[in-house]
């Protein structure tokens, strides 16, 4: 598959194109981490993260590619792995304790939100994720989910978001949760 075909498919939200890219460059990209003191798991994580960054940029039309996809992916992997190595080296014991305290509080809040997202229907989850994370246009969401038009998507998205907010707020009183 040629690069321009892949880009076109991804911009329409075709996840099979992502699978194809993942398979095609797996060895090349993970090799970069493996030869720089990374484990197999770290290499896989970095490559997957890089692909998701790429996916997000293409799908939200934020990317004007001037090189081959492989070159671009390689540079993302390189940057992500450098950041990871920096993060590892900077993480002293004191910082770890502090991070643990903050994480516990944030984790609890995240857990509740995750739980409420899980209570939404499949279509609601998809609409919210495609809209907020993938930054897909209403038209692309309509095409992907087989909806009649953009107005249908807009209404559905509004309802789904309101439902999610009310589910989260129902778990806690506003003062408990937001303070």
């Amino acid at each position: 598959m040629r690069d321009n075909v892949i880009l076109e498919k991804i911009s329409k939200g075709d996840e099979k194109a992502l699978d194809y890219l993942y398979q095609k460059y797996y060895k090349m990209m993970t090799h970069l981490v493996l030869k720089n003191n990374g484990t197999e798991q770290e290499a896989k994580d970095i490559y997957q993260d890089a692909l998701i960054v790429f996916w997000q940029k293409v799908i939200s039309n934020q990317l004007v590619l001037t090189s081959k996809i492989s070159t671009y992916l390689y540079s993302i992997c390189l940057n992500l792995w450098r950041k990871e190595l920096e993060r590892k080296s900077k993480l002293s014991h004191e910082q770890k304790d502090e991070a643990l305290y903050i994480d516990q509080e944030t984790d609890e809040r995240s857990r509740i939100i995750r739980e409420c997202i899980g209570q939404l229907g499949d279509t609601c989850k998809k609409i919210l994720m495609y809209y907020y994370f993938d930054d897909m246009s209403m038209q692309d969401i309509a095409d992907k989910l087989g909806m009649a038009n953009t107005e249908t998507v807009k209404t559905k998205k509004y309802k789904c978001k309101k439902r999610l907010d009310s589910l989260i707020k129902a778990k806690y009183s506003e003062s408990d949760f937001l303070d």
Binding site: E15, D19, L51, S110, M129, D134, Y158
Partner: protein, 301 residues
């Protein structure tokens, strides 16, 4: 406040897509309204968790994609089936081949016994059947023919056992198989001996299996960048050479080593390794291994 968080403007604020002026005005609005401030904090968390959930979904999807890591554990079911099939096929072929070979050997052995009986009936004096000896040229070899004579003997000794037994079976009725050997040249023309190989060192077999000196269709660009003196990088099968080469010719040599093509740069009698996956600009790496240098010299001339 409640309606504002469901507007497109607020969504764009969460996504970081607002223009600086719009962003400032939204932030000012948030600062002035404590309830909106709390709500924004919650909405930012929801936005983060939605993103994290989507990432997880994509990652779990990618985890299911079969990838080639070079490990046996990563073969798919179909690949395993193909391997198993091949093994069975080879094993079966080997088994039938062995059975056929043993059957043939048994047949010959049976005939051999019969012939021995016949022989013993015909000649009581002989305890053992005659084994046909290879027929050599009775003529004494001269010095020049010594090599040829030795090779004749070796060729007969190296004959398959089956032929030898067959010869024994048929010794009375059939003619001994005639072995035709090629003429061996024992003298060389004067011209052939004039080539001087003294300066040539044959490269190690494992090092150089099949080599070629080529320009390999590799696109090359030299860049006079003061930051990088004698550096290089490879992007999309294109070699970028950094530094002042002063117009002196250089050469790219491709060497097939351990079934892998390696590229080298020859410049002013020195050789440098070129890693084809080197995307970043790095200094040229001088080759110091004398074996590789010899091989590269042989190729570059």
């Amino acid at each position: 406040m409640k309606d504002f968080i469901y507007t497109e403007k607020f969504d764009n604020y969460l996504k970081g897509k607002l223009e600086p002026d719009d962003r400032s005005s939204v932030e000012e609005e948030i600062r002035q309204d404590p309830l909106l401030l709390q709500e924004t904090s919650l909405q930012k968390d929801i936005y983060q968790v939605l993103g994290a959930e989507r990432r997880l979904l994509l990652k779990s999807r990618l985890d299911k994609v079969a990838v080639n890591t070079g490990s046996l554990m990563n073969f798919t079911g179909a690949q395993w089936a193909a391997i198993l099939g091949s093994v069975l096929l080879i094993t079966s072929a080997g088994y039938y081949g062995l059975v056929n070979f043993q059957e043939k050997d048994t047949e010959i052995a049976k005939v051999d016994i019969v012939s021995q009986e016949e022989i013993s009936a015909k000649s009581q004096a002989e305890e053992l059947p005659h084994v046909p000896l290879p027929v050599y040229n009775e003529k004494e070899p001269d010095d020049a023919g010594l090599m040829a004579s030795t090779q004749d003997k070796l060729a007969v000794v190296a004959m398959p056992k089956a032929v030898e037994v067959e010869g024994r079976v048929n010794q009375e009725n059939k003619a001994i198989p005639k072995i035709v050997l090629p003429d061996i040249m024992t003298e060389f023309e004067e011209e052939d001996q004039t080539i001087d190989y003294s300066d040539f060192n044959a490269p190690d077999k494992t090092l150089l299996e099949k080599s070629e000196a080529i320009s390999s269709g590799l696109a090359i660009e030299t860049i006079a960048d003061q930051r990088y003196d004698f550096h290089y990088q490879m992007i999309d099968q294109k070699l970028y050479l950094y530094g002042d080469f002063q117009g002196i010719p250089y050469k790219i040599i491709s060497l097939n080593r351990n079934e892998r093509k390696q590229l080298f740069l020859k410049f002013q009698d020195d050789f440098y390794n070129l890693n084809q996956e080197q995307i970043e600009v790095v200094p040229l790496d001088l080759i110091q291994d004398s074996t590789i240098i010899k091989a590269l010299r042989a190729l570059s001339h």
